[in-house]
Subunit: 313 residues, 2 copies
């Protein structure tokens, strides 16, 4: 019998978070190949693109095509990031089944990242909720709030934890179906992670289904995952080969590496839907699609993992 | 007032564990420069060389000179690895103040690594104890047992935990002053680490002063450190720029990266003797000494860490 506390949900964000920092757009056929590999590996949730003006970020000029392709695959949620109501309109028109709006805890980051105050972004969230509710039932996407700079901000440094929960509350009131807490710049530390998610469980509840999004900028990514697990979190973001970035630390790595996260979970005896051997084929596709790009992941580097790896409970 | 549970001791093993896998001997002047940098950064304990026949491992042909240099510096312990009594004799003759004898939990690894059974290696340990006790008091080195393959073995897979503690007991009976438990091939996982060190505290006691030696072969190094910290461990090994290796995973990384470990400890509010800014100068020395060698460390890669980084308790 499966104890549902043993089950973790791992979603990939390489096509959105990983690709947004690349200097050149990746051809659509590579994006499809990567998404197909992720799905074939057992990934059920992925953040696949961003619905932003192609003039601003040419990388996502093929968003509508990728959404259409994702809808042909066996995904539970193919999530599209939208910065505002306009993006949401376009995402819905393109057939998006899940959309995420980023909201910063840091006012400075909010203004720099989306050129809106936090208060205005909450208003935007409410507008998107209304827009979704006006759609025919079968075409209403899931609405997610992606709360950023939860664990620190490269502009403001420490952020206020009471502000984190004020924003969480605003998002719940606005009618989001899911919430993610993101360590946008990799500042989180294990004790802080434990404390914030423990507070989440106490004040909001259902910490099990909140999504933890960690970056590995300073090497603490998987240690933070363990801390979040201890606090009851069971939904994690990661990216294939750790792609992603932090514009404030030019050579820094990005998200935690999907492959290493899956390995960690299996070693901890947690159940995922993912076949690690299949997933390890992803590195070769990224090497072909992104020649010269530094790819992360210790298992990718080792080239193999212990064949007898049994869960250690 | 300082709570001693806040204090961690971090030792470096790049000159021994990191350099033993390099194809060419590193010139002595670079070794001295690295050791000096480590000491200037506040490192008090380092494993600096191995007393093995230079024909077998030319890298350590300068062991006596490096021991003499280390004795001029402000180190608490400059440890020399010795594979047997012969090595111990030479280390003592060279003025070593601390020696470590490796003993495997895995019988197969013991035979492959030091060409001796575990039982014979315990006999060797007793001989070394006798040898040390015959020295004049002021030239008696500290005797350490470095217990390897504690968390798994690339030959035998899982190792028996009761065997771990049988070996620990034999080493204590043989009169070692310190013990290290090593994840020689990077197989450890956080739950396993917590369990084994909890057993150590229960069955042996003073887990606070046992040395945890982790490799980052599959990316779990710092997560394992957090698990060990939770179990009460306060002494950790690491290596500058993560150098080290696992002969069974050709492209794998080595030890956990010293710089990232120091950052983690500071983020957790633990006190170390180490100045991270000074330590980050080590990368440039290694780049010069080892052209073309892949160096590890996420902070090394990011080039900086958050300037405002405060402990997060």
């Amino acid at each position: 019998m499966t104890n549902s506390l043993d089950q973790v949900s791992i979603s990939d964000c390489v096509l959105r978070d990983g690709f947004q920092i690349l200097p050149e757009p990746v051809p659509l056929h590579f994006k499809k190949k990567i998404l197909k590999l992720l799905v074939d590996s057992g990934i059920k949730d992925a953040e696949i693109t961003s619905m932003v003006p192609p003039k601003l970020i040419p990388q996502f000029g093929d968003a509508a095509e990728l959404i259409a392709y994702a809808n042909e695959l066996d995904l539970k949620t193919a999530t599209v990031l939208v910065p505002n109501i306009k993006g949401a309109e376009r995402a819905i028109a393109a057939g998006a089944k899940s959309i995420v709006l980023p909201i910063s805890v840091s006012e400075t980051h909010s203004n720099k990242n989306i050129r809106k105050s936090r208060a205005d972004q909450v208003i935007e969230l409410k507008k998107i909720r209304q827009l979704i509710d006006q759609q025919p039932v079968q075409s209403r996407p899931i609405l997610i709030a992606g709360i950023s700079t939860v664990f620190g901000c490269s502009y403001e440094g420490k952020v206020s934890e009471s502000e984190v929960f004020r924003i969480v509350e605003s998002c719940m009131e606005a009618g989001v179906e899911h919430l993610g807490l993101a360590d946008t710049v990799g500042y989180a530390s294990p004790n802080q992670v434990k404390r914030i998610f423990a507070t989440y469980e106490r004040e909001v509840g259902a910490v099990k289904s909140v999504r933890a999004h960690f970056h590995d900028t300073f090497g603490l990514g998987l240690a933070n995952v363990c801390a979040a697990l201890d606090a009851g979190v069971r939904v994690f973001d990661a990216s294939l080969c750790g792609l992603g970035g932090c514009p404030f630390a030019p050579n820094a790595s990005g998200n935690i590496t999907l492959e290493d996260l899956v390995y960690l979970m299996q070693k901890l005896g947690m159940k995922t839907s993912i076949n690690l051997d299949k997933l390890l084929e992803g590195q070769a596709i990224l090497q072909e699609a992104l020649p010269g790009q530094h790819l992360y992941g210790m298992i990718n580097r080792a080239g193999k993992y212990p064949a007898d790896f049994k869960p250690e409970r």
